[in-house]
């Protein structure tokens, strides 16, 4: 039952993703080809410089034209437009993003995939940490709010949720840096680690030190929302008949709350947690930029500034892939946690 559900979901996800890649390829085809053409010219120029200069101007022109035709054929630029789009889409799906125009990875590679795969773990590290803390705080506070719903603390913290609702996390980051990093000089203003990075245990401590301000900012903005949502989910469940029935059976309140209620709340809460994580995959580009945190988000920023289209495109594709994968995993986990889906209907 569950396996069928999983399979169906994964296949849908893959199909949707492939369609999206095709749409992106179409949309950005012109731009990418422009970049490709100039890259070809660069390559040809480099080749001619390396060669013997014993050729006459006519021979030179002929040679360049020949090389150009060859390369255009290689990159399918001489084929009709649909052919080109399909070829590009297939390239992307096989993770062949081409070469960056200007940027380099820390190892000096210009392969876009290398550059991106370097940045990905850093983004995951930062946001997963922040979201874990958010969820823990959210659970603690949300449960308290649900138990004493309508009380003073509940109302007060709900107001808090609304106050930060429209506050951009990156703006708070700017303030935090301005104050803690530049005025008080307590924390570094960004980056992954100091230069040069220390080794051994000090490396990890240095990492934590650099993570402190961004994580703090994310948590301050984030935990209100998660506590409010958890409060609503749990409160909704606490009003269900089966909770009352369980209490009538004499089950102690602790078990009712942490056993029956929380277990039933697990699917929507996990959904919420994963959705926040997903939102951070794309939504925190600015945030990373402000803190100069060299993750995927920051990569967008830099590639825009430096006008490096291949990196931008590759990043977009990876982000979309991660996002879609996240959505599919979300559905799978939800299905696993909720027996109504996992086990299915009546026999």
């Amino acid at each position: 039952m569950y396996w069928r559900y999983c399979l169906k979901r994964i296949i849908y996800g893959l199909i949707t993703f492939i369609i999206l890649i095709f749409i992106f390829s179409t949309l950005f085809n012109t731009t990418m080809e422009k970049t490709l053409k100039s890259q070809i010219e660069e390559e040809i120029r480099a080749e001619t410089l390396k060669m013997d200069t014993k050729m006459t101007p006519e021979e030179m022109t002929h040679f360049i034209a020949e090389r150009r035709t060859f390369k255009q054929h290689l990159y399918h630029l001489d084929k009709p437009i649909w052919n080109r789009i399909v070829w590009r889409a297939i390239n992307v799906l096989s993770l062949n993003f081409g070469k960056a125009t200007i940027m380099k990875s820390s190892a000096g590679e210009t392969d876009v995939w290398e550059i991106i795969s370097e940045c990905l773990p850093r983004t995951i590290l930062l946001f997963t940490t922040a979201i874990c803390i958010n969820i823990i705080l959210g659970l603690l506070l949300g449960l308290k709010k649900a138990q004493k719903a309508g009380g003073f603390m509940d109302k007060l913290t709900s107001i808090g949720t609304m106050v930060v609702y429209g506050m951009p996390s990156w703006w708070l980051g700017m303030l935090v840096i301005m104050f803690f990093a530049y005025q008080l000089r307590l924390f570094p203003s960004g980056s992954l680690h100091s230069i040069p990075p220390p080794t051994g245990l000090a490396y990890y401590i240095d990492l934590l030190y650099h993570m402190a301000l961004p994580v703090l900012t994310l948590v301050v903005i984030g935990f209100w929302g998660s506590s409010y949502l958890i409060r609503n989910i749990v409160l909704g469940i606490l009003q269900e008949d089966y909770i009352m029935a369980t209490r009538t059976r004499g089950i102690p309140e602790r078990k009712v709350l942490y056993g029956h209620a929380m277990r039933t709340a697990a699917p929507p809460i996990v959904t919420m947690a994963l959705l926040s994580l997903l939102a951070s995959v794309g939504g925190n580009i600015i945030f990373e930029g402000i803190f100069s945190w060299p993750g995927l988000g920051n990569l967008y920023w830099i590639s825009i500034e430096q006008n490096d289209i291949p990196v931008l495109m590759g990043n977009l594709f990876i982000t979309t892939a991660l996002y879609m994968a996240g959505l599919v995993i979300l559905d799978l986990i939800y299905g696993f946690l909720d027996p109504r889906i996992k086990v299915g209907g009546r026999r």
Binding site: R249, G250, P252, R263, R346
Partner: protein, 324 residues
Amino acid sequence: MIDNNIILRVKNLKIQFFTTKGVVYAVDDISFWLKKGETLGLVGESGCGKTTTVLGLVKMVPTPGKIISGSIEVDGENIIPLSENEMRNKVRWTKISMVFQGAMNCLTPVYTVGFQMMETLQKHKEIPYAEAKKRIINYLKLVGLSEDIIRRYPHELSGGMKQRVVIATALFLEPKIVICDEPTTALDVVVQAQIINLLKELKKKLGLSVIFITHDLATEAEVADRLIVMYAGKIAEIGTNENIYGNKKLSHPYTKKLIQATPRLHKKVDELSFIPGTPPDLVNPPTGCRFHPRCSEAIERCKKEEPPLIEVEKEHWIACWRIN
């Protein structure tokens, strides 16, 4: 005076709800008793206070409700002053258990049936796992369910099966009192008949004392020995089935109308009779007898004074100025 035959005595119970629209006088000064081994029916329209009364018996009245005054004596002991902990450990399920209406939503959807039954059993009785499992299987058999129900989740069961599970759970601690709150209302007629037969069987086998709530007089007549008719938070009439259904003269006007409104299978019916008007607003209940606005036999006195319950014959009480 302790009457050993009486297992539950309710005296002057008052339950009120404090809402933003005002105080709702849901249960207003009712008194009754339940004898060992008898089935007491509790009938009335929706909103007359039946469910609130029985929830009060286990002190599970939902907020914003509160038990204001009165006493509830279970086996001679008044349970109203007991704390939540004491209720949980000593009264709920061990002395009084409940079979809810609309069993659709009585079981937590994320735990198996077996888990929930085991949880309840082990909470109240210190017995080893194997023995507990045996008892659960026995009771499941008693209600006509096979052993592998234990591994199922609630959504995998039909309405009738869920109701049986709930009945089994209500019985396996062998409580003194079992309250059934409209256990068959949400089920189709065939299943309804099965459940009623089951209940009758169990009653005989286990000698249960049962309070059976329903709004359907036919079911009540099948299952119960005595019945209480409630209206607008007050008791209108108490009596045995013979007294109430048999005697046409000594009857509360409301009861009369209820009996009239029940269609008979063998009689030809041209027009369904009904009781005109709607149940009263319990924030501002009518003065005097609460039924007087809808009563065809009302007199002046009914509008001003509330009639008390008076014994008109053996084991038959009526609260009506016309009768007295």
